[in-house]
């Protein structure tokens, strides 16, 4: 300790301490806030409507009403269909953690069976979009990547960004990233139009095209970073930042070194 304290007045001591402090804070934060990405496969077992109703009454009715008729703070769920429930509950968006801007993806509260039961209950209230069958979702067989990319740029990129990384909407709302989303949930989002997203009906985008879209998203997700670190695939903002910080930063550092050494 004594040896270390000898350097406490060293030129580099201040900056080094700052870097250590930042590292410590950063590490603590990242450990503390680490969350496990959810990925659950839902079995396509038929679930009992009655079971779903019981879960609904306990977990959802305080906002959506005892008969899912909606209320002052939450919409009616009559006619939203099983697909909507499966998307909202299956991606952890519902139940909402807070009501500020929009429901965000998080670890699901209900397991696969409970979600299926909830979906069955809501679907029993009135007809609506159904959960797509697993056999329908064979995007690797039925989808076409390049066509999906074209559809994506035509219909999705304006909110979700050219590489599906997500983007900003008004008043703090946002189009979330599509990376790591299950194919089934992507499909359900298109047919139900959750939150700010419009509905892409089978007339606008046919089921085959939807599979192409999913295939393209999955290919973008799996694509290695061909040109090196991408800094988020969000365009020139991070590139400019890097040019200044790393590029000019390093060059100035070396210029300082060159002009002080030779004296």
């Amino acid at each position: 300790m004594k040896r270390l304290s000898r350097y406490r007045r060293h030129k580099a001591a201040g900056p080094l301490l700052l870097i250590f402090a930042l590292l410590a804070i950063g590490t603590t934060f990242s450990v503390a806030s680490a969350t496990v990405q959810q990925s659950q496969t839902v079995s396509s077992r038929t679930a009992s409507i009655e079971e779903g109703k019981q879960i609904f009454l306990k977990g959802c009715s305080s906002c959506h009403g005892l008969n899912a008729e909606g209320g002052a703070i939450a919409p009616s769920l009559i006619g939203v269909g099983a697909a909507s429930v499966d998307f909202q509950v299956g991606t952890g968006r519902m139940p909402m953690a807070d009501m500020s801007t929009q429901a965000m993806r998080k670890k699901p509260v209900y397991n696969a069976e409970e979600t299926a039961a909830l979906a069955a209950y809501v679907a029993s209230l009135a007809p609506g979009p159904a959960i797509p069958e697993e056999s329908v979702l064979n995007y690797e067989r039925d989808g076409h990547t390049a066509q999906g990319g074209e559809l994506f740029r035509n219909n999705c990129a304006m909110c979700h960004n050219f590489a599906g990384q997500g983007g900003a909407l008004t008043q703090g709302k946002y189009a979330p990233t599509l990376m790591g989303v299950e194919p089934k949930h992507i499909y359900e989002a298109m047919i139900t139009g959750p939150q700010s997203m419009p509905v892409f009906s089978d007339k606008t985008i046919t089921p085959a095209e939807k599979l192409s879209l999913i295939r393209w998203i999955k290919s973008a997700e799996a694509e290695p970073n061909l040109g090196g670190a991408t800094m988020g695939r969000i365009g020139p903002v991070t590139e400019g930042l890097l040019a200044w910080i790393l590029g000019i930063g390093l060059l100035i550092g070396i210029a300082v070194w060159l002009t002080t050494r030779a004296r």
Partner: protein, 528 residues
């Protein structure tokens, strides 16, 4: 004399007898260049320009500047079978099928970003140290010209691949051109060869990007550097440095070795960046069609502030005589940059008008000693930064959980409030630093040693500073306010009284400073 020396001597003699170069070479090699890290920023610009020329030449070997429709049949699976322009397809081929092509593309693009960043850094150094003062005003203007050319060249460069992002940029460019009253639509028609996007634009900007603008660049850079050569480099004040000498290393060998080495350092850092960090992954954007757009479409950083200004402009339009004037584009994208660049180019003359100083200056200012100029510089940086932040408003909003509307309103208010605030704060800071300098001169530097006096008081021991440092702290001139009377000796109002009033006010503001330590004060201190 050995035979080798003889041979070299004969060869040199051969050249000298025909070109008479010996005198010039001798004079040039004895040229002295002062040493300071900030003097190397201009070199970074020049070296990255050379890298741009080399890597750009490589790219032209494979790039097909045409908007002819082709069906992509290359190796990149997610775009296979799509209709796209030959320009985009050939850029994909450069990225994926030409050996080293992607690295070269990335070197070209990173070098462009660093080139512009280095220009701005170099400009700030020249501005804050007052290196633009007489006799270097022309070189300052040439520098502004290079900056402006760089903006245009960069825009054309990232527009060439004809991907979704570049097309979006061109769409905005065409909108900005069209916003110019009366002639805008015509200029846009001539540039694009018809309605946007047309088929003529890529070949046209290609010619401009690889031939005309680099040609002008080369010419202007040559004059720029020759003027530095001819007028000699400025230097920071110090013992033995005067307005009539230059203290530093001669070109050979020290300076040449350093400069030559530095070129490879610049090349190395750009190559390193290009090897590890992706830039403009055009294959992800897809080919451009006017119906498509991506969230978070930003220009490269040096255009970002203009984009930010356009983003914050409220929707103002006037309709008159069957014409629409889009103030929301005209003001942020044409008028404001016009004022900014004209103001920058004219600044040396404006400052000399304010100070009334028409003398030559070869010694640089320490920024704190000219508070008004420094404050103006920081004010300008703040203006650009607020605009730049708004240019990335959607990226900031998603990454920091903010509302895009809040960022926009912050910028709308901030663009007016923050720059003046920055001016005031910087000016106060400069004056405080002057005061600190004065304190240092009079009482020396703090040693951190505390003494307890017999009666219990604690004092810190101060050590006198070195004579070299004392010289630097003392050597500057202090600006004096111009004495301009509104009336002449006979009490008659002088012509141009308002102009005089403005000049007097500005000159007075410019001359605000903490009084330097006088000789008497120094003597008194020494006496203690």
């Amino acid at each position: 004399m050995t035979s080798t020396e003889k041979r070299i001597g004969n060869a040199a003699n051969f050249v000298d007898e025909r070109l008479g170069a010996a005198g010039w070479v001798k004079k040039s090699l004895n040229k002295v260049f002062p040493d300071h890290w900030s003097f190397m920023l201009g070199e970074v610009c020049m070296y990255s320009f050379i890298i741009l020329l080399l890597s750009g030449t490589f790219l032209t070997f494979w790039f097909d500047p045409s908007q002819r429709d082709v069906i992509y049949n290359g190796v990149y699976e997610p775009l296979k079978g799509l209709k796209m322009s030959a320009a985009y397809a050939s850029t994909l081929d450069i990225s994926f099928e030409v050996r080293g092509g992607l690295l070269m593309r990335q070197i070209h693009h990173w070098a462009a970003n660093i080139f512009m960043a280095a220009i701005v850094a170099h400009l700030l150094r020249v501005f804050f140290t007052g290196a633009f003062r007489k006799p270097r005003e022309f070189n300052w203007i040439l520098g502004i010209l290079l900056l402006t050319l760089g903006l245009v060249e960069g825009l054309f460069g990232y527009s060439l691949p004809d991907d979704l992002l570049s097309g979006t940029g061109l769409r905005i460019t065409s909108a900005i051109i069209q916003a110019i009253p009366v002639v805008g639509t015509y200029i846009s028609f001539f540039l694009f060869g018809g309605a946007f996007p047309g088929v003529g634009f890529i070949p046209r900007i290609f010619t401009l990007h690889i031939l005309l603008i680099p040609g002008i660049f080369l010419a202007v850079i040559t004059i720029h550097v020759m003027l530095v050569w001819y007028q000699k480099h400025t230097q920071f004040p110090g013992v033995g440095r005067t307005e009539t000498n230059v203290v530093g290393h001669p070109i050979l060998p020290v300076y040449m070795a350093k400069a030559g080495g530095f070129f490879f350092v610049v090349f190395g850092i750009i190559a390193f960046l290009s090897a590890v960090a992706s830039i403009n992954p055009i294959w992800l954007y897809g080919p451009y069609t006017p119906g498509q757009i991506s969230a978070g479409s930003q220009p490269d950083w040096y255009m970002g502030w203009l984009d930010g200004l356009v983003r914050m402009a409220p929707p103002l339009e006037t309709h008159a005589f069957g014409h629409t004037i889009s103030w929301n584009i005209l003001i942020p994208a044409v008028i404001v940059p016009g004022i900014v660049f004209t103001g920058m180019a004219l600044y040396p003359f404006i400052e000399s008008w304010i100070t009334g100083d028409k003398r030559e200056h070869h010694l640089l200012d320490r920024p704190r000693n000219v508070p008004n100029r420094t404050a103006l510089g920081v004010m300008s940086i703040t203006f650009v930064m607020v605009a730049l932040i708004n240019g990335g408003n959607d990226i900031l909003a998603t990454n920091f959980d903010l509302s895009i509307n809040q960022i926009m309103w912050f910028s709308r208010v901030g663009i007016f409030v923050l720059p003046p605030l920055a001016f005031v704060i910087t000016k106060r800071l400069c004056l405080s630093l002057q005061r600190a300098d004065r304190e240092l001169l009079l009482h020396g530097s703090e040693t951190g040693r505390l003494l307890r006096l017999p009666h219990g008081e604690f004092v810190e021991v101060h050590a006198p500073i070195s004579p070299e440092k004392a010289f630097i702290l003392q050597s500057h001139e202090q600006p004096v306010a111009l004495a301009i009377e509104e009336v002449d000796a006979r009490g008659v109002r002088r012509p141009g009284a308002i102009k005089n009033k403005i000049q007097r006010r500005l000159s007075k503001a410019h001359a605000v400073s903490v009084p330097k330590v006088t000789e008497e004060e120094m003597k008194e201190i020494e006496h203690h």
